[in-house]
Symmetry: C2
Subunit: 145 residues, 2 copies
Amino acid sequence: MGIFSKTCEYAIRAVFFIAHRTAKGGRVGIKEIASGINSPEHFLAKILQDLSRKNIIRSIKGPNGGFYMDDATLKRRLSEVVEAVDGNSLFTGCGLGLVYCSEINPCPLHNEFKGIRARIYEMLQNTTIEAFNEDLNLGITSLKK
Amino acid sequence: MGIFSKTCEYAIRAVFFIAHRTAKGGRVGIKEIASGINSPEHFLAKILQDLSRKNIIRSIKGPNGGFYMDDATLKRRLSEVVEAVDGNSLFTGCGLGLVYCSEINPCPLHNEFKGIRARIYEMLQNTTIEAFNEDLNLGITSLKK
DNA sequence: TAATTAAAAGATGTTTTTGTCTTTTAATTT
DNA sequence: AAATTAAAAGACAAAAACATCTTTTAATTA
Ligand code: FES
Ligand code: FES
């Protein structure tokens, strides 16, 4: 088990892929995305439908259709993607599973978790989706395998 | 979804509870533990059986039996509990779900994840189970609700 | 406007996680 | 030794996560 759900992992990789692939215009189809990030095609389709509804990415049907990102969506924060898919429990929930995370009734690891959560949130909050395009273009980073 | 599985959350809370409850001798039964950490009794029983087999906690059957911790188990690191339950994927796996996390073929968030993972591991590695007893005794921290 | 394309939506299936209930085993006490 | 106690083990069930397949809808193109 990782920090994110499998769904969220696919979502992030797909969004990176779409951004990288369409930042200069054009569309990309579900087949190419799925194979580009090594994910099950139909499962990913569901995830992207959801992201599209939530305006994290754009999509258009028909010939020459597909998924893409425009200026607005390229500037979205990674935190928005995570929140859209996994909700905000990663940022606000108790690490030990107490119903509420609070200063009044903290679990033994509350302070430590607070720091870690803040760091995760910071990372996701401080980076836009487009920020990773360059490294992907240069082939420095990878989205599959 | 949190950082740990539900199973692991229960495991950590239970281990804290047992440590706190038996550091000065005695045993504690599954019913008391389950109600003390607000977890399903029989599900927790399975988890504790497993932890007992892996020498994270001790147990003994029969009248006056129950779960307890001795000097050796009290000194175990939290990381050992997590690893026993959730494995080490949290510490070594790719945050975006790539099959291998590596410097050679890194995902776009590799460096960020490396830092976060290290911090999580450090927290779990640097603290023994018994380290939390005092705060629990004082009622400063909580294991339920 | 008919054919085609590609995403959206719907239905269904599998696996994993989480949770419950019953029976068995190993200790203790009488 | 028999009764009692409490964990261990096994069987089963529900829910959530993950995945696949089919049908429908909205565009484009011929
Ligand atoms: S109460 Fe557990 S992380 Fe805040
Ligand atoms: S490759 Fe993704 S975290 Fe290292």
